[in-house]
Symmetry: C2
Subunit: 159 residues, 2 copies
Amino acid sequence: MNQDYIEPLPQIDELDEKILRLITKNARIPFLEVARECGVSGAAIHQRVQRLLNLGVISGSEFVVNPAKLGYNTCAYMGVYLEKAKFHTQVAEALRKIPEIVECHYTTGQYAIFVKIQTKTNKHLKKLIDEELQEIEGIARTETFISLEMDFKRQVAIK
Amino acid sequence: MNQDYIEPLPQIDELDEKILRLITKNARIPFLEVARECGVSGAAIHQRVQRLLNLGVISGSEFVVNPAKLGYNTCAYMGVYLEKAKFHTQVAEALRKIPEIVECHYTTGQYAIFVKIQTKTNKHLKKLIDEELQEIEGIARTETFISLEMDFKRQVAIK
DNA sequence: TGTGAAATCATGATGTA
DNA sequence: TACATCATGATTTCACA
């Protein structure tokens, strides 16, 4: 018995994996360089990347900002308790409007919703919790852990 | 009184911000297109981006993979209790060796360490916890929340 | 910082296995 | 279906103002 829902997987071959390993570490790498490393033509890489985008295996690319260099020195995780489970969606919508909330999940366990927050300072975080979050209709209470230091962060490993 | 340590901020002007807003949403955007939007030359954008990299405001670029399309259907957060606080570093080092652990923070509050995990299935997660995590010297116990659904994820907003 | 020219690259069409 | 080759227009990059 397997209780997990598994979504159908696209066919990814070794060339795709090699491409993914390269472009997930550096989105600006010239496709011709990828091509040379893989021993195929540039157009082949171009077509493969397009296909991986179409399949949704990759959703796009981004330059990664360091929040601290923009003055965002506090990173926190917060569990949210709801007054009633059915407030799920409206609370998530309200959270989405707060730009300091950078990630939001529906979760099992003690919290209904779990979020990641980036604020300028601890004071700014406290203010956000007191003045914005506790005011959201449907939130009963919250529990916050501040990240003292991020030790590492990476994407899921390509086989 | 302000208890927060603030790291010195690089000078970021409006042009930098405009560039950041564009390249953090699409790392492959041609710099010439950015240049046209900003009314400067392509080389100016190139140099600005280089400077932002040197300053550490951006740490690089990446194509963003969708874990589910690679068979990683379970996302979880886990709080780690340590036997002794001084086990901090060695536990973090052990965690870094487990590829399914994609993010690791030192935190305040009830947990000493807080991690994000991507596994193929719930079963795979359970196996990871039972066979790998609980075996790590220094970990007392762990508490896991499974993400049923990610509602949203974004980078910190550029002013 | 910015400009412009040379080197490099992306990308679409076409042919082939 | 996946890839190579080729042509062209765009982009990156570097020397220089």
